[in-house]
């Protein structure tokens, strides 16, 4: 096990974590501000990927595809907020879960109806394809490196938006006391629609970026959604910083666990059994991490004290 391999796996873990952050950030914002559990967040990820695939197939430009993913997911987000989600804020979480689960089915079957059941083609743009050689002789795909960079830029932008702008102040205020900011004359309906569309756009961006190296298909969002929930529970629900730290932790644990646990077991077990045991334990690793964090801090790493 060479040092280069370890470094490459750390980069893989970071890249995975950053993409999870884009998903988790929207989810945690929506929960923090509106108190809403949005299971349909995975569908917005899928919508982003499909918009990107359809538009870049039609125009031949990956960049236009990304713009379409942002716009399409934000529009879908705003639409479902206005039509469905708005009626759920006052209801309890069970109603929200039921309604947003219904949205998953509607979006999945709607997408299947529009695009068919077979995966769509979406490839990495030519300028970003192929590997680059990093210091230390690590060969790493340029596209994955770009994903890390793009994710960090979006994360920085999001922190700036929350910490330094007027809308950010309103969002933070909304998390603390929604009646009060309504009383102070902030148009709470518009704020909610904006936050929802913002979260949706982030999910759509993640879907489009990841879609280029995975397969763009119906139901691609649900596995990521589960991981995004793990991330926000670890990070503390409602906290953007928690989402970032949680996403990186989950990304690194999952990637490195998958590689090193089988190797670790090989030290004292037969190789075949070690691969089996290691692989099984690795797929549990992030949930074990979540359980440990919750024992240590029941509200998550950066969650508000209950």
């Amino acid at each position: 096990m060479s040092l280069i391999l370890v470094a490459e796996q750390v980069l893989n873990g970071l890249q995975f974590g950053i993409m999870l952050f884009l998903m988790a950030a929207g989810l945690t914002l929506i929960f923090g501000v509106m108190g809403l559990i949005n299971l349909a967040h995975g569908s917005l990820y899928m919508i982003g990927a499909f918009c990107a695939a359809a538009v870049s197939a039609a125009t031949g430009s990956f960049l236009l595809g990304l713009v379409a993913a942002l716009a399409g997911a934000a529009a879908a987000g705003a639409l479902i907020e206005l039509v469905v989600i708005r009626r759920l804020y006052a209801r309890d979480h069970l109603d929200q879960v039921l309604a947003t689960f219904a949205l998953i089915l509607i979006f999945s079957e709607g997408t299947r109806w529009l695009f068919g059941s077979f995966p769509l083609y979406l490839d990495v743009p030519a300028a970003l394809s192929g590997p680059v050689t990093l210091p230390g002789g690590i060969q790493y795909p340029l596209y994955r490196l770009s994903l890390i960079l793009a994710g960090l830029i979006v994360a920085a932008g999001l922190f700036w938006l929350i910490a330094r702008t007027r809308i950010g102040i309103q969002i933070r205020a909304g998390e603390n006391d929604r009646e009060m900011i309504a009383a102070l004359g902030v148009d709470i309906d518009r704020l909610y629609t904006f936050v929802f569309a913002l979260g949706a756009a982030l999910a759509g961006l993640a879907g489009a970026l990841v879609g280029a190296i995975q397969s763009v298909q119906v139901g691609m969002g649900e596995p990521v959604l589960i991981l995004a929930f793990v991330v926000i529970v670890i990070g503390g629900i409602g906290s953007i910083r928690g989402a970032l730290v949680g996403a990186l932790l989950v990304g690194l644990t999952d990637t490195l666990g998958g590689i090193f646990l089988p190797e670790l077991f090989k030290l004292f077990m037969a190789p075949a059994a070690a691969t089996q045991t290691g692989a099984s334990l690795a797929s549990m690793a992030i949930y074990i991490l979540m359980a440990l964090v919750l024992i240590w801090r029941p509200t998550g790493l950066y969650g508000a004290r209950a």
């Binding site: 059941s117 691609m220 998958g258």
Partner: protein
């Protein structure tokens, strides 16, 4: 009086056609989620076969198992108990087949497998009412392992999802490959990111990567592999490179070799007609799953012509005779009711704008599975 006439009329009509009693078929297959392309191809191929063979009196009920074993079990119970089907078919995934097949065959129903051939059901768990029309899981891989040995491959990196079919496929490859296995990596079923495995592949000293990743998993892996700078050649059973996958991978797959019992350019009677009819009706090229669904439909239609499904022994014998023109060419059932068939080596090529497969040689003739000896029927 009116009622009597009606009854008489129906009886006469039945006599006139001389038809055997109707057969009700329950098809449980994957029509939603990441594996939907496979189930849809099997379903479309199966229905096309019934239509083209002109078989009458076969009613098909289709349900979506969502690629979930628990859903498949519920559907099977429903089909056996309330729909009262005579024959079940359709399951794509080995883990679902393991959950459904033993219980429905024990209840006296026939099961025809259009895909998925777990080793357990070919050996000790074989059953007189279970017919596998596709392949035993190991088959393509045994042929590939033998081919790799003959063609001077010395060290192989193996990759498959961690579920019954994944383990069978890898075991099959190893059975006939006499070189060295550098790594054997198992990923989660349905995994979409293979960065970690690709890094291991790059760090290993294998000359060939052999992988079984059906459906969306194969698309993700191949795209990521192509962009990673890894240069080791890849090979796999046809499931990693079937028609549904190639459209989404694009040119990154060109030149890849894969083993299969069928290809759309296979020159046997009936195949060109099947490809043309399928393309005409569904507006896409058939995959090997569609070919398997088609053969399953033809097998059922051939048995329905010979025997009444209520005559269990007669119908079983009619199935076992496999008296139909398979789009794979010669086809027969072995003692454990799994296929004896030729397995070809295919290569991914570009025909015009379409990325597809073409046969370049034969990897195994009259291939049969390794588990028949354990089958006591």
């Amino acid at each position: 009086m009116k009622l009597k006439t009606l009854a008489l009329g129906t009886a006469l009509a039945a006599l006139a056609t001389g038809a055997l009693a109707d057969i009700k078929v329950g098809m449980i297959t994957t029509l939603s989620g990441g594996g939907a392309g496979l189930g849809i191809d099997v379903r479309d191929g199966f229905l096309l076969a019934l239509e083209m063979s002109g078989a009458e009196g076969i009613e098909v009920v289709v349900e979506d198992d969502q690629q979930k074993p628990d859903v498949a079990v519920q559907l099977a119970d429903k089909m056996v108990q309330s729909e009262k089907v005579d024959v079940l078919t359709g399951i794509i995934w080995s883990n679902l087949a393991m959950a459904v097949v033993p219980s429905v065959t024990a209840q006296g129903k026939f099961y025809l497998s259009p895909n998925a051939g777990p080793s357990q059901l070919a050996g000790r768990g074989c059953h007189p009412n279970y017919f596998n029309v596709s392949w035993q899981n190991d088959a393509f891989n045994e042929a590939a392992g033998a081919w790799a040995s003959e063609n001077g491959v010395e060290k192989v990196f193996l990759l498959a999802p961690n579920y019954p079919a994944g383990k069978d496929m890898i075991a099959g490859f190893k059975r006939f490959f006499d070189g060295e296995i550098t790594n054997e990596a198992y990923t989660q079923l349905g995994a979409t990111d293979y960065a970690a495995e690709i890094a291991q592949i790059k760090a290993s000293d294998a000359d060939l990567v052999y992988y079984f990743l059906p459906g969306g998993m194969g698309i993700s892996f191949m795209k990521q592999y192509a962009g990673s700078g890894a240069e080791k050649p890849v090979m796999g059973p046809a499931f990693s490179f079937d028609q549904g996958i190639l459209g989404a991978i694009g040119e990154a797959a060109l030149g890849v070799k894969n083993t299969a019992h069928w290809s759309k350019d296979l020159d046997v009677p009936g195949n060109a007609e099947f490809v043309a009819a399928f393309t005409e009706k569904y507006d896409r090229l058939p995959s090997l799953y569609a070919a398997q669904g088609f053969d399953t439909g033809l097998l059922l239609a051939s048995a329905a012509e010979k025997a009444d499904v209520s005559d269990t022994d007669g119908f079983r014998a009619a199935l076992k005779a496999a008296d139909f023109q398979s789009v794979r060419g010669a086809f027969a059932f072995g003692a454990n009711q799994h296929p004896i068939q030729t397995i070809y080596m295919r290569e991914v090529v570009k025909e015009g704008d379409v990325v597809t497969n073409r046969i370049i040689g034969t990897a195994a003739t009259e291939h049969t599975d390794a588990y028949g000896g354990d089958c006591k029927m």
